[in-house]
């Protein structure tokens, strides 16, 4: 059996490992166009900052792939013929498969502002984006970052390490209003400003101005910000255009509960997949690392013949806003109330509804995933969870507790 995986991100790599483990006999080929060695996209910022090299971000030592008989091909899939079970590759001709995984990830979604296609305006997703950014930020003095998501903050931090004056334009009136409480938004905003970034909330971009490259960003209320570079972190969209109509797509490749696409023997996982019938509390497209990994594992088992439902368990995610770490578990917004504590530099919020904890959000406090997940999965009452806070602590030794 020949299992072909398109995309060597965390979804593709996790799937390949699971196929190999569940089926010693399968031939596994991973086709990807970006790099031969799978690397962690989440670490792109550190390459630009010079905290890591590309080699540091590679997920496994080179020998791992030969030892586990996972073949890698650096090539681009141009189209898919599901009837003949073949992929057309840019350089390598046709590649037949018995089972196929689509794990092609996302691409940055840049809003159609006038001037958005000027050189010096870009998102951050692929390695080539870092290379372009390296080239286009040499010698510039000021830059504008647009979009209050997680990539936006990373762009601001990256530019700051090059001594560039950064203006950070966020459309919302406060930082990530759908995810954070007001206190949390304020804490993150303060952290961003503490690092010298000029954070402008409620700023809607109207256009980018420039000549042979970007020079400034103009907002809807007419303010003009000089920008030798414009970093855009307004979101991503699944990388599925190349598929044409080969499999059914919505925003992403539409898949069932077992992550199977509409064509036989085709699966999809990670950023590029869209669940037709997501489990309760799960978004149809969830472009985050952990989801891609769990879906990759589920699809990998399916490809190897051990088909199973995608069951991600209690939601979790994490990020870092400059020096402020964030962890979130379960549902922290919507119906219910917040229990919240903060000390000016850190905060902890427990969301509860109908007498049961539904979610936890921690800024500058490290928590233990298994403990927080248990509170939520078992619907612990708030008091019981609070009494269990000690068990949830994951801060480094000798750290002063948030609540004495």
């Amino acid at each position: 059996m020949h299992v072909v995986i398109v995309g060597n991100g965390i979804a593709g790599v996790t799937a390949a490992r699971h196929v190999r483990k569940a089926s010693a006999g399968a031939r596994v080929t991973m086709v990807s166009d970006e790099t031969l060695e799978p690397f962690a996209r989440t670490a792109l910022m550190y390459i630009y900052m010079g905290a890591l090299t590309l080699a540091h971000t590679q997920m496994y030592e080179e020998r791992f792939w030969a030892e586990n008989r996972i073949d890698r091909v650096q090539d681009r899939a141009l189209s898919l013929d599901p009837a003949r079970q073949r992929l057309a590759l840019r350089d390598g001709g046709e590649m037949p498969y018995d089972r196929l995984l689509l794990a092609t990830g996302s691409r940055p979604a840049i809003p159609p502002w006038p001037g958005a296609s000027l050189p010096g305006v870009q998102g951050l997703y692929h390695l080539s984006d870092v290379e372009r950014m390296e080239r286009d930020t040499r010698g510039i003095r000021s830059a504008v970052v647009v979009g209050g998501g997680l990539i936006g903050v990373e762009l601001a931090e990256m530019l700051g390490t090059r001594g560039v004056a950064v203006t950070f334009l966020v459309r919302e009136a406060r930082y990530l209003p759908r995810v954070f409480s007001e206190a949390e938004s304020a804490l993150v905003a303060a952290e961003v400003r503490r690092h010298g970034v000029d954070l402008r909330l409620g700023a809607e971009v109207a256009r980018v101005e420039g000549d042979e490259r970007a020079r400034a960003v103009v907002t809807a209320d007419g303010e003009r910000w000089a920008a030798g570079f414009v970093g855009v972190g307004t979101g991503v969209r699944p990388h599925v255009d190349w598929l044409g109509g080969a499999v059914e797509t919505g925003r992403g490749v539409l898949v069932d509960r077992q992550l199977r696409a509409s064509a036989p023997n085709v699966w999809a996982a990670g950023d590029c997949a869209e669940l037709r019938d997501p489990p309760a509390g799960v978004r149809p497209v969830e472009p985050i690392w952990y989801t891609a990994r769990l879906q990759g594992a589920t699809a990998g088992l399916g490809l190897a013949g051990r088909v199973r439902d995608y069951a991600p368990g209690v939601y979790f995610n994490s990020a870092k806003f400059f020096d402020l770490e964030w962890q979130v578990y379960g549902a922290t917004a919507g119906d219910g109330d917040d229990w919240e504590r903060a000390d000016g530099a850190r905060s902890l919020r427990i969301h509860h509804h109908d007498g049961a904890v539904t979610g936890v959000s921690a800024l500058g406090v490290r928590l233990r995933q298994d403990v927080c997940s248990r509170w939520i999965a078992e619907g612990w009452p708030l008091d019981r969870a609070l009494a269990d806070l000690g068990a949830a602590r994951f801060d480094p030794e000798l750290t002063a507790p948030l609540l004495a």
């Binding site: 490992r17 699971h18 090299t53 001594g163 503490r194 994951f394």
Partner: protein, 461 residues
């Protein structure tokens, strides 16, 4: 995971334009002071300082020490937190020409110190005023003044670069306390106390070290010598036995080898302070891990067998064994004590990272490592499935442990070589790692099955 190339021309391109390095006025002043210190050292080496050792010695101290501290304090201008940017662009830190030059100078100084100490005569004289103060005698090569100078410089390096570590890691109480600890043990227990003892007419004793690191402590002639020196000598012997046989296993059971390697030991102290800028240069490959296990346990085996043979020779009075035993002692002292621990261990900081000796050579680390691996509660706990595989932890592990290998599988890290410096946990941007030594609450998983994959019935790759 191929690391930085052994010689990294890319870093040299950035030598005068490291995009992440824009020195402030204070930093420029500090660099100028350090340069003045280096000039003073060169002048002294060339014999030009003999007229006024106090002046040139003062200049060297103010330049290297004062300049170093000023440089460290300049770090306060940046926000507290993990500030690793620019490391991989730095000619000094990323195996560029500056790193190689520093490495060659350090190695060269060690070689001269061990084999041609007379060549250091001019430099040794700089230590004269301090030597008279602390030891009550002048500093000359004839009376071991080069070793006085060496310990002084070593201690100064721990103190000055300790200030740098304190500033760099000031956001983490664990690092602050740990750094203060190694600074205290080096300056007071390893440096000041032995000289104080000598002034009191007692033997020069180093209470931080015991066999097998202090490899000749239990050699027959050393035991005899210590017993002759009276109560304090005997106390040292008793302390040495207690340290290796009692204190070490007990503390390592509860806290891991870190209680020694990154809180107390002077070699560790230098690595955690002066070596900190180079910690990421350790080799993370599987091959290096294999080499490490052979070498470090090999050294332990050699010193154990050798010490036993010395006693057999001494007690049984076998003539030929005597000769072999003395030959062994000399060879071990030369190859392991001098070449490995000094020339390679410290000289190669900018090339192979800060813990070459601790990882590949130190027999004490081998003992502590075996205890940590098999008889200790200490572990680095991985926080479920939180790892984003970024590679920071592995990159900045000075012991060359591929921490990410475990973390991305959701597995705890239990490795003989881990010195518990805690830097992997500090640099992790997602709070995935925690040094722990309490009883394992999360289901007896000291180094058990990975937690974040769906195949629970299969051993995952």
């Amino acid at each position: 995971m191929a690391d930085l190339p052994l010689y990294n021309p890319g870093a040299d391109l950035a030598l005068f334009s490291n995009p992440a390095f824009r020195p402030t006025a204070v930093q420029r002043l500090a660099l100028a002071l350090v340069a003045a210190g280096v000039v003073a050292v060169i002048v002294a080496l060339a014999g030009g300082a003999s007229g006024a050792p106090a002046v040139w010695g003062g200049l060297a101290l103010a330049g290297l020490g004062g300049g170093g501290v000023l440089w460290a304090l300049a770090g306060l201008a940046r926000p507290a937190g993990v500030r690793a940017e620019g490391t991989m662009f730095s000619s000094n830190q990323a195996r560029g020409a500056v790193g190689w030059a520093v490495g060659l100078v350090l190695t060269g100084l060690y070689v001269v110190l061990y084999f041609w100490p007379a060549a250091l005569g001019g430099l040794v004289a700089l230590g004269d005023p301090l030597s008279r103060l602390l030891r009550g005698q002048p500093a000359t090569v004839a009376n071991g003044g080069q070793w006085f100078l060496y310990t002084t410089v070593y201690t100064l390096a721990v103190a000055v670069m300790g200030v740098r570590a304190l500033v760099r890691y000031r956001h983490s109480r664990y690092h602050v306390v740990r750094t203060l600890s190694v600074m205290f043990f080096q300056t007071v227990i390893a440096f000041a106390l032995p000289f104080f003892l000598v002034r009191l007419g007692e033997p020069e004793l180093f209470f931080l070290y015991t066999w097998p690191l202090d490899y000749d402590l239990f050699f027959p002639w050393k035991v005899a010598e210590l017993r002759e020196t009276g109560r304090l000598g005997v106390a040292m012997l008793v302390w040495g036995v207690a340290l290796i046989a009692l204190i070490t296993p007990v503390l390592t059971f509860f806290f891991g080898k870190r209680w020694y390697c990154s809180w107390v030991c002077g070699c560790g102290g230098l690595a955690e302070t002066a070596g900190d800028p180079y910690r990421h240069l350790s080799d993370k490959s599987l091959g290096a891990w294999k080499l490490e296990r052979w070498l470090v346990h090999g050294v332990l085996a050699v010193i154990t067998v050798g010490t036993a043979a010395l006693w057999v020779a001494a007690v049984a009075d076998v003539g030929w064994l005597d000769a072999v035993a003395v030959g062994f002692s000399n060879q071990y002292g030369f190859l392991i004590g001098s070449i490995f621990a000094g020339v390679v261990g410290v000289g190669f900081y900018p090339i192979f990272g800060s813990r070459v000796w601790c990882r590949f050579g130190c027999p004490m680390a081998a003992v502590l490592g075996l205890q940590q691996r098999f008889f200790s509660r200490f572990r680095i706990t991985t926080n479920g499935g939180q790892c984003i595989s970024c590679g920071q932890c592995s990159a900045y592990c000075e012991m060359g442990i591929d921490v990410r290998w475990y973390a991305q599988r959701g597995q705890n890290v239990v490795r003989a070589s881990c010195v518990g410096c805690g830097v992997c946990a500090t640099v992790c941007p997602r709070g995935v790692l925690r040094l722990e030594n309490g009883p394992d609450t999360s289901g007896a998983r000291r180094a058990g099955a990975p937690a974040n994959n769906l195949i629970t019935d299969l051993e995952i790759l």
